[in-house]
Amino acid sequence: MLAQRKTGFFNKFYLVEIIKGLMITMRNMLFAKRATIQFPEERRDYSEKFRGQHYIKSVNGVENCTACMLCPTVCPAECIHIVAGEREDKEKYPIKFEIDSLRCCFCGMCEEACPKDAIKLSNIYEMSQQNRTVYEKEFLLEQRGNK
């Protein structure tokens, strides 16, 4: 059986309840800690493990990558395209290393598969672009984020 609501002339206006509710609103508005931040000026701290924009580690301007193709093999989104070449000292290196950033699902499998610790995901998360973006090798070779 349903509980009978209190009836009466005064209770019809719900004044007490409105005041109670407004007090909660005012308390949160004026005194509670804010959930949002002023984004470009303020930034959140992300974990070191955060998987953001890619970069290729390099030593003295030479990429660590040896174009072993393990990252395109393991990539579930098939967004990495590598063309391997031979340097003058017979070393294997990537002539072309492209990541289709819109296809990428930031799973971090490439990072895990890489035997040379070359491809990394930084903690940069501002990657919005106005056109479809393919990250070229030159772009990826700039050292960004957590190194």
């Binding site: 040896t66 174009a67 072993c68 193709m69 093999t73 391997a84 070449g85 031979e86 294997k92 035997p115």
Partner: protein, 473 residues
């Protein structure tokens, strides 16, 4: 037949068969490095250890012939320990540069190490390194990866018939190299890369182009000569990366020549004509077919067919000429100097044949006469070629005539033709060919042809139609 027991399974065998062959029939895989069914047995790598009852020590399966009542164990504790020990020794000096090694993915050392070796390494000493010699244009050498199985040395001596690779020095300093460091001489050098169980000898042509596991494989026949070697085209994304031989004990055994191995290059050459070409300009298909119709116009024609076409294509051409150009004469051409299969003799004692086209035998089976018997030709001559037949040998003979080429032509060849209609190469079509022994074999389509080229049957059908209408491809 006598019987022996391998891992509890009774297997019949022919006397003289070694344990690896017998075990394979029982479904038991014994890991090997130096053993190759096409080469002699040396029992050098010590990987194929098995335990045989009543024998005090582990035996190498490759050098032990099966005997009546023999009880063999391939998975017992001493065997597993022995293999792990062998693997550890082989990997002492191996650089473990699998990420940049072209063999990775199809490497015996990788597979056996994964299957039978240990994940940890105990030795901490510096690894042995070598300076590599130049092995010529086919093979790239990396001696650091070598495990001294001597397959390459035995291949040269026993199959290629040239003693060019040798093992010099002894013990830890052993070096597998060519005599005096000369480049390889043999025309079968590509097989060195195939039989090498590590990445020590790799193909220069395939160097760093693709990883082995990414390639799709299509079993087909080499069209380099009338031998008809069985091969596998390995391709990815509609690009062919390499060709490797397939085992066929009746024809090519396990081998293949370099000419056949590199033959696929012309099919994806920049100079290959991929659009209908009239004079020196490229035209659309409808114009091309219309011009062709106007020029041949139901007259009797001289038709030349390359003996590199498949049986089905030859039949189509014969049927077309019989129905639409009554009184035409059809001749086959291919290699200069080889006009009949009687003239098609082996070049060496290994694989190569004189006829550089694959289907000379098949063309003769269809009753097509040789171009040698051609006395006179019509004003317009149709020349069908599959890319491998020597077109220049024919164009020299027919100077002054109007030549229309249908098939696979390069820009250089097309200069002497008034019109060229591009057609499929051997990598892009299915079909049947007869090799010099008369064995019927099937070509298989490996890659999708460009949409601007048409099969010979389609070109003939369009030409035979009254109204020229070329549908979208």
């Amino acid at each position: 037949m006598p019987k022996c027991t391998i891992d509890g399974k009774e297997v019949e065998f022919k006397p003289g068969e070694n344990l690896i062959t017998v075990a394979k029939r029982a479904g038991v895989e014994i890991p090997v490095f130096c053993y190759h069914p096409g080469l002699s047995v040396v029992a050098q790598c010590r990987m194929c250890y098995v335990e045989i009852e009543k024998m005090p020590k582990l035996q190498t399966a490759c050098s032990t012939n099966a005997a009546e009542g023999m009880v063999v164990k391939t998975q017992s504790d001493p065997v597993v320990k022995g293999r792990a020990g062998t693997m550890e020794f082989l990997l002492l000096n191996h650089p473990l540069d699998c990420p940049i090694c072209d063999k990775a993915g199809e490497c015996d050392l990788q597979d056996n190490s994964f299957g039978h070796g240990s994940a940890n390494m105990r030795h901490t000493e510096e690894r042995r390194t070598y300076v590599d010699v130049d092995m010529g244009p086919v093979i790239e050498k990396n001696m650091n990866r070598c495990i001294h199985c001597t397959r390459c040395i035995r291949f040269g001596e026993e199959v290629a018939g040239i003693h060019e690779m040798v093992a010099i020095q002894r013990g830890n300093n052993i070096d597998i190299t060519t005599i005096d460091g000369n480049p390889l001489q043999t025309e079968y050098a590509g097989n060195y890369a195939d039989i090498c169980p590590t990445g020590s000898l790799t193909l220069r042509d395939f160097r760093f182009r693709k990883r082995a596991w990414m390639l799709k494989k299509t079993s087909t026949i080499c069209e380099g000569c009338s031998k008809g070697c069985n091969m596998e085209i390995q391709h990815e994304g509609n690009v062919i990366y390499r060709c490797v031989p397939r085992e066929n004990l009746e024809i090519n055994k396990y081998w293949m020549c370099d000419e056949g191995r590199m033959n696929y290059h012309y099919t994806q050459d920049e100079k290959r004509i991929l659009n209908p070409r009239s004079g020196a300009t490229f035209i659309g298909w409808e114009d091309a077919i219309q011009t062709l119709k106007d020029q041949i116009n139901e007259k009797p024609l001289t038709v030349l067919v390359g003996s590199d076409l498949t049986q089905q294509e030859l039949e189509n051409i014969l049927e077309y000429t019989k129905n639409y150009h009554k009184g035409s004469s059809v001749y086959h051409f291919g290699t200069e100097g080889v006009f009949t299969s009687a003239q098609d003799l082996p070049v060496d004692k290994i694989l190569k044949m004189k006829s550089k086209t694959s289907n000379l035998n098949g063309a003769e089976k269809l009753g097509i006469k040789s171009v040698q018997e051609m006395k006179s030709a019509s004003d317009v001559v149709l020349v069908f070629a599959g890319g491998r037949a020597n077109v220049q040998s024919v164009t020299k003979k027919l100077e002054g005539k109007k030549l229309i080429g249908i098939g696979v032509y390069s820009l250089n060849e097309a200069e002497s033709f008034s019109m060229v209609l591009p057609s499929l190469s051997f990598t892009e079509k299915d079909g049947t060919i007869f090799n010099h022994q008369g064995i019927e074999q099937k070509l298989k389509r490996a890659i999708q042809p460009k949409n601007t080229i048409k099969a010979i049957s389609e070109i003939l059908m369009l030409t035979a139609n009254k109204k020229v209408k070329v549908g979208a491809n």
